[in-house]
Symmetry: C2
Subunit: 198 residues, 2 copies
Amino acid sequence: MSKNDDDLQPWRTIASTTVLKDRWIDLRADTCVTAAGATIAPYYLLQPSDWVHVLAIDEADRAIMVRLYRHGLGDFSLELPGGAQDAADDSPEVAARRELLEETGYVCGPMVHACSLSPNTASHTNRVHFLVARGARVSQLPVREAGETMQTELVPVTALRGLATGGAIMSALHVAGILVALDKLRAGSPGSTAGTQL
Amino acid sequence: MSKNDDDLQPWRTIASTTVLKDRWIDLRADTCVTAAGATIAPYYLLQPSDWVHVLAIDEADRAIMVRLYRHGLGDFSLELPGGAQDAADDSPEVAARRELLEETGYVCGPMVHACSLSPNTASHTNRVHFLVARGARVSQLPVREAGETMQTELVPVTALRGLATGGAIMSALHVAGILVALDKLRAGSPGSTAGTQL
């Protein structure tokens, strides 16, 4: 084993401090030591709860999406409905159904897991889960929070890949989730020999 | 115009405070007001410099990737080489060439822009740029920093889509960048009538 291989071990965390914690942020600073003996400090980590988003498709093959103001982007952003998985949400699916209903007023059929990714492997300890469902239909009026400046948009599923690869969808998280979900949809479409039927 | 449409305006920022700023983090808290008159505070924003990553492909159609320890994930992560665009980097391409060389010891041919996305439209003000290049070849030994616990991996380009959609690549940013870059590669491949020749 070369010296390089010897060094290829996870860091050890030897100290951990909460820097800032309130309803909106949970920021921690670690002191880490690499296998080569280097001390890395402070190493900041954000530890929100998991996030969930759903590609919900109606009977006319349209994705139920939201266009919402995003203050990081400083502009409106076309994204899949979703949000944080609350403590009361037993699973990503429960959270996704709640968020879909609150943000758009839609319900949908059975959900299939598309992927669970790290929003940022360097800085975030949580995961973002993407689900896919068909049978989306309006059930009620949206119930949006004060900070949710958004409207519902119905986007033909056939247009989604182009929107995700062509710059119309700016969120890297949603580009990832949508492109993976489209792969799952294609694998599960009638006539395919592989994948989950959706 | 309905009340809902009236409310669909960007937030106004009426105050902005630096919460924490050092070499590793730049965290700001804004006080915002929505068109409907709701006050949103504190709204935390992270404002790192832009990030760049490159899908560099060698003559044997292998992507030059890195497997590196990522403390947010708490594990090793398979990603494209890259990092922050420094003040001295005149463009994302300059930064990508520098990072590719430092992290892997590789150089490459002309770079083509794949996409520029928001790493997180809610919390991050910066962009992550993905570039694609062929003609990657070893030029020198890597010059890695103390906090870069990584090794180079050569991944057949034909395997990349499966790795990105199947959970072997955990970073949502890299899943997005890789899947968009593969679309650009396919569009630019010999025999195609569209896209950039790569």
